[in-house]
C-alpha cells in the first residue's frame, strides 16, 4: 500500500531523517513518549448504560455508546448452552459510511483492512475484532469481564459496544478508539438486581439509578484495557504517532494493556503489529522488527501506560454521573 498521506517522497525522507536523529525531532516537538492532548467526556448519552466521547486534534472524534440487554441462555429441552464469547458485541461505524477517507485501504487504526483493494468493503475493518480481543484476552487465567455479566442462573447481560467515528476523512489512531471504549466501559452502570440470584425466573431490577452497579467496580483491578500505538524509526521509538509519523515509520505495534494495581503497573493483554507506511527509509533497510527493538517498543508502552490509563480513569471518575 502506498502511504495514505499526501506526503511526497522528499517530505517523507526529511521526516525520516529528523525522526531518526539522536535525540529525535518530532514534527510537533513532542518528546518521544509524549501523548497529544485530547478532549474526553463520558456518561452523556441518556439512553446508554455507558458512553464516552473522545476528540483528538488530528485523529478525529468518536462517540461510544454501551447498551446492555438482558438475555436468556439458549435453552433446549435438555441442556442450557452458554456461549460466553457472544456476550459482548463490538461494532465500529464510520459516519458517512464505508471507506474511511484517503487512507481507506489502511482501514481504521492502520491495523486492519489491509486487504488492499478488497479492504474497501470492510468498513469497520478489524477494529471491532481487536477491540473485543483486548477485552476478552484479559480474562486469560483469572478475572474476566464476562464474569460480571452473569445475572442469575439462566440469564446474563449482553453488552453492545457501538463505536461511531464522526470524522470519516481523518486517520483515526487506535488510541482514539480504545480510549473512548475504555472510558465508556469505565462509566457503564447496570441496574441493580432485585430478584434473588439463584432463581430461574425472569430477573427484576431496581429502577433507581442511584443504586445501580458499575460494570467495573471502582478501585478494583484490572481496569478496562487500552491500546497504545507505538512506532519505530531507526533506533528511536515514538508513542502516539501522528499520521505523518506512521507514514514514515519502519515498524509499528499496538500494545493493549490493562492496569493491574493502584501503583500504575500494567499487564500486557495483547500486542499486534500495525501497518506503517515505510515511507522514508532506504530500500532494504529494515523489513521487520528484531527482538531488541520489540523489547524497546513494548517497554516504552509499559512504562508510560500506567500514567496514561490512570489519568484517563481519573477523568472518567470525575465526570461520572454518580461522582
Amino acid at each position: 500500500m502506498p502511504p495514505p498521506t499526501p506526503l511526497s517522497p522528499p517530505e517523507l525522507s526529511y521526516l525520516y531523517a529528523s525522526l531518526s536523529l539522536s535525540p529525535p525531532i518530532r514534527l510537533d516537538l513532542r518528546t518521544p513518549t509524549q501523548f497529544r492532548p485530547l478532549v474526553a467526556e463520558c456518561s452523556f448519552l441518556p439512553h446508554c448504560n455507558g458512553s464516552a466521547r473522545v476528540c483528538m486534534s488530528e485523529a478525529g472524534e468518536c462517540i461510544v455508546g454501551i447498551k446492555a440487554e438482558i438475555e436468556k441462555d439458549a435453552t433446549t429441552k435438555y441442556v442450557t448452552v452458554i456461549e460466553r464469547e457472544k456476550w459482548i458485541e463490538v461494532s465500529v461505524e464510520v459516519a458517512g459510511g464505508g471507506a474511511s477517507g484517503p487512507g481507506s485501504g489502511m482501514g481504521i487504526g492502520g491495523i486492519s483492512g489491509a486487504g488492499g483493494a478488497t479492504g474497501r468493503d470492510e468498513g469497520d475493518g478489524g477494529a471491532a475484532v481487536w477491540l473485543k480481543e483486548g477485552l476478552l484476552a484479559g480474562g486469560a487465567g483469572g478475572w474476566s469481564i464476562l464474569d460480571r455479566l452473569v445475572i442469575s442462573s439462566g440469564w446474563h447481560w449482553k453488552l453492545y459496544i457501538d463505536v461511531l467515528l464522526l470524522t470519516p476523512t481523518s486517520h483515526p489512531s487506535p488510541l482514539l478508539l480504545s480510549t473512548a471504549v475504555n472510558m465508556a466501559l469505565d462509566s457503564t452502570y447496570l441496574p441493580k438486581l432485585t430478584s434473588p440470584h439463584d432463581v430461574d425466573d425472569i430477573p427484576t431490577f431496581s429502577d433507581d439509578w442511584a443504586i445501580s452497579v458499575p460494570l467495573y467496580e471502582p478501585k478494583t483491578f484490572p481496569r478496562p484495557p487500552m491500546s497504545l500505538p507505538v512506532v519505530a524509526v531507526g533506533d528511536n521509538v515514538f508513542l502516539d504517532p501522528s499520521v505523518a509519523e506512521v507514514a514514515a515509520a519502519e515498524a509499528g505495534l499496538v500494545v493493549t494493556l490493562s492496569l493491574s494495581d493502584a501503583q500504575g503497573n500494567c499487564d500486557i493483554v495483547g500486542v499486534r503489529s500495525m501497518e506503517v507506511g515505510r515511507g522514508g527509509g532506504k530500500e532494504g533497510d529494515r523489513k521487520g522488527i528484531n527482538r531488541k527493538l520489540l523489547r524497546q517498543m513494548v517497554n516504552a508502552c509499559v512504562k508510560e501506560a500506567g500514567e496514561v490509563i490512570k489519568g484517563v480513569g481519573e477523568t472518567t471518575h470525575q465526570q461520572m454521573f454518580r461522582a
Binding site: A114, W130, E133, V269, G288
Partner: protein, 335 residues
C-alpha cells in the same frame, strides 16, 4: 418408459447401487483411538508442504499440519487495470485473502468472509508485505489467496457450558479463554508458511522467506484461580505449535503468533493475545516470543526444503530434456 413408478406391492431394491458394509474384525482391537499427543512441548507437529500443485496460477502451495489443510495460490505480478481511477503505484500492490471453506469447521462458514477471516487476511498481509521486493514490480498487483480446507476446530463444545435440567446453579467453572486464539494462531502460522512457499514458487523476488510460528504459555489451573499473581511465573509451560486440546490440568495465559524471517532475524508480523505480566519488564513476553520464534525456525526447515525441491524440479526439467520425477522424500522435522 424412462422412469417407472415404484412397484408398491413388492420390496423394491434401492434405485442406486450399494456398497456392502465392511466391518472391523473386532470392535476392541480395530477401533482407532484418537492419539493423545505424545510430542514434547518444544516439538512442532509434522508439516507437509508441497508447491506447484495448481497449474493455472503463477505459484501455489499446499500445506498440512495434522488436521489443518490449506492451499495457497499466488496470482501475478500482473499489471494494474488501466483506468483513470487507478492510482500510480511505484511498488507492487499486494492483496491477501483468507477464506475458510464452508465445510472447514463444525460450524458452517458462509461464503462471504466474516470478520475473523478478514482479520486473518490482514495479518497475513502484514507478515508478507515487508518480505516481498515490491519495488521491483511497479504498477502491478500480486494476489495471495488462501483457502482453508480443513481446520482444527474452533467452535465446538468446550467453551459451551451444558447444564442439565433440574440443576439450579450456574457455575461456569471452566472457560478456555485462549481457545480461539490458539486455533486461529495455528491457522495463521500455517497460512504464512504456505504463502511464502507459494510466493517462492511464483518466482517473486523476496528479501527472505517468512515462516510462521505459534507458542502458548500455560499455567497450572490452581494458580490461575488463586489470588497469587505473578508467582505462577515459575511453573509456566510453553508449548510450541499448541494443539487445540489443553494440556492436563493447565490453563492458557497467552498465545503468540508471528511471521519470522530467519535469515534476517526479523519479525514481520506479531500477534500476542492473552495476559502477559510485566513484573520483570518484558522478560515474560520475551520468553513467549522466543518460543514462537523457535517454532517458526522449525517450520523454516520445511519451507526451505519445499522451495529447494521445486527449484530442483525446474532445474532438472530444463537441464535434461527428460524431467526426472520430482523426488518425494519426506523431510524429518528436527524439532
Amino acid at each position: 418408459m424412462a422412469a417407472k413408478a415404484p412397484d408398491r406391492r413388492r420390496n423394491n431394491p434401492p434405485s442406486h447401487g450399494t456398497t456392502p458394509p465392511v466391518f472391523l474384525s473386532s470392535s476392541s482391537s480395530g477401533a482407532v483411538k484418537p492419539k493423545q499427543s505424545s510430542r514434547s512441548p518444544d516439538e512442532i507437529r509434522k508439516i507437509f508442504l508441497r508447491t506447484g500443485l495448481i497449474s493455472s496460477v503463477t505459484g501455489s502451495s499446499f500445506l498440512e499440519i495434522a488436521p489443518l489443510k490449506l492451499s495457497v495460490s499466488v496470482l501475478g505480478p500482473r499489471p494494474l487495470p488501466r483506468t483513470s481511477s487507478t492510482p500510480f503505484a511505484a511498488q507492487a500492490i499486494l492483496t491477501t485473502e483468507v477464506k475458510f471453506a464452508p465445510f472447514a469447521s463444525t460450524v458452517r462458514r458462509g461464503y462471504i468472509r466474516d470478520s475473523s477471516e478478514r482479520d486473518l487476511g490482514s495479518r497475513l498481509y502484514q507478515a508478507l508485505v515487508g518480505a516481498i521486493r515490491r519495488e521491483l514490480y511497479p504498477k502491478s498487483r500480486i494476489e495471495v489467496v488462501v483457502t482453508i480446507l480443513d481446520s482444527e476446530d474452533e467452535g465446538d463444545d468446550v467453551n459451551t457450558v451444558y447444564i442439565e435440567e433440574g440443576k439450579t446453579t450456574v457455575e461456569t467453572k471452566f472457560w478456555d479463554a485462549g481457545r480461539s486464539e490458539r486455533a486461529l494462531g495455528v491457522v495463521l502460522a500455517g497460512c504464512i508458511t504456505a504463502a511464502s512457499a507459494a510466493l517462492a514458487d511464483a518466482g517473486i523476488e523476496m528479501f527472505d522467506l517468512v515462516s510462521g510460528g505459534v507458542a502458548t504459555s500455560f499455567v497450572d489451573e490452581v494458580n490461575s484461580k488463586g489470588k497469587d499473581k505473578g508467582d505462577a511465573v515459575s511453573n509456566k509451560l510453553y508449548v510450541r505449535d499448541p494443539a487445540i486440546a489443553l494440556p492436563e490440568g493447565k490453563t492458557p495465559l497467552a498465545t503468540c503468533v508471528l511471521g519470522y524471517m530467519a535469515a534476517r532475524d526479523e519479525i514481520s508480523e506479531l500477534w500476542i493475545s492473552g495476559k502477559v505480566g510485566t513484573k520483570n519488564g518484558t522478560t515474560e513476553m520475551d520468553e513467549l516470543v522466543d518460543e514462537a520464534i523457535a517454532a517458526a525456525r522449525s517450520a523454516r526447515g520445511v519451507l526451505n526444503e519445499a522451495a529447494k525441491e521445486r527449484v530442483q524440479f525446474i532445474v532438472d526439467k530444463t537441464g535434461t530434456a527428460v524431467p526426472s520425477k520430482g523426488e518425494t522424500t519426506d523431510v524429518e522435522m528436527s524439532g
